[in-house]
């Protein structure tokens, strides 16, 4: 599954690229016989923002640092929560409406750790990982977004 071009290990599947794995693939990666719970989060392009029609999001990243920050994040999450495996992938380039821009998945023996870990990961990703989103509206107007948190 994970190729040598990807930042991965037996425990983590980290990827920041134009082609990212599907939700099913991320879920399958984190699945393990010792785990009773998998929790996932998928960030998706919405069709509207403050009354304006969104055509697509376009993502740019400092890829090497983004993957490095994601690895740190996974290490921290693994310290904080009893999780077995983590998938953390983020798209680059264009992301049309209803397409996934980010997929996070965690597995754990018990549900609370899996659920809390995913929530932690998306919050920290939005705060720390150097990736930028340009929101493109109908009529070709666009703006660089900022995560408010």
């Amino acid at each position: 599954m994970a190729t040598s071009n990807e930042s991965s290990s037996d425990r983590y599947w980290i990827k920041v690229a134009e082609n990212i794995p599907s939700l099913e693939e991320c879920s399958a990666f984190v699945s393990a016989p010792t785990c009773g719970a998998i929790s996932t989060f998928v960030g998706i392009t919405r069709d509207n923002f403050q009354g304006k029609k969104v055509v697509k999001l376009s993502y740019e990243g400092y890829v090497s640092m983004a993957e490095k920050e994601l690895r740190k994040l996974c290490d921290e999450a693994s310290q904080k929560y009893d999780v077995t495996k983590i998938a953390a992938v983020h798209i680059l380039g264009d992301c049309p409406v209803e397409r996934a821009s980010v997929i996070l998945a965690c597995s754990s023996p018990h549900r609370r750790d899996a659920l809390q870990c995913v929530a932690y990961l998306i919050d920290e990703l939005k705060a720390r990982v150097p990736i930028w989103k340009r929101e493109v509206y109908e009529g070709d107007d666009s703006v660089w977004k900022e995560n408010v948190e």
Binding site: Y62, M65, K126, P130, W132, E146, N147
Partner: protein, 91 residues
């Protein structure tokens, strides 16, 4: 080369646009250069970037893929990479 250092500067997102769509450049700086003086050098070299790069709240630096925290000033040495990090919006 004694007397100066050469650092690679990476420009992203709105910083790249303000620098005239330059993704990266090598800058020759004095041997005493640090992250604060780099901001000034960039402001001079790219006037449209000046307001952004001089505002630590609005543009963070990353030195060799590590964030430079607010108020921190780090020396630069030959071969360093500094990235200009506008407000992030991943996810």
């Amino acid at each position: 080369m004694s007397g100066s250092v050469i650092v690679k500067v990476l420009f992203f997102a709105s910083a790249r646009e303000a620098a005239g769509n330059i993704s990266s450049t090598d800058l020759e700086l004095s041997a005493s250069a640090d992250t604060a003086s780099l901001r000034k050098s960039l402001a001079e070299k790219y006037p449209k970037l000046a307001e952004m790069v001089l505002d630590e709240e609005n543009l963070t630096l990353a030195l060799n893929e590590e964030y430079v925290t607010s108020g921190q000033v780090l020396p630069l040495k030959n071969g360093d990479t500094v990235a200009l990090i506008p407000p992030i919006s991943g996810g």
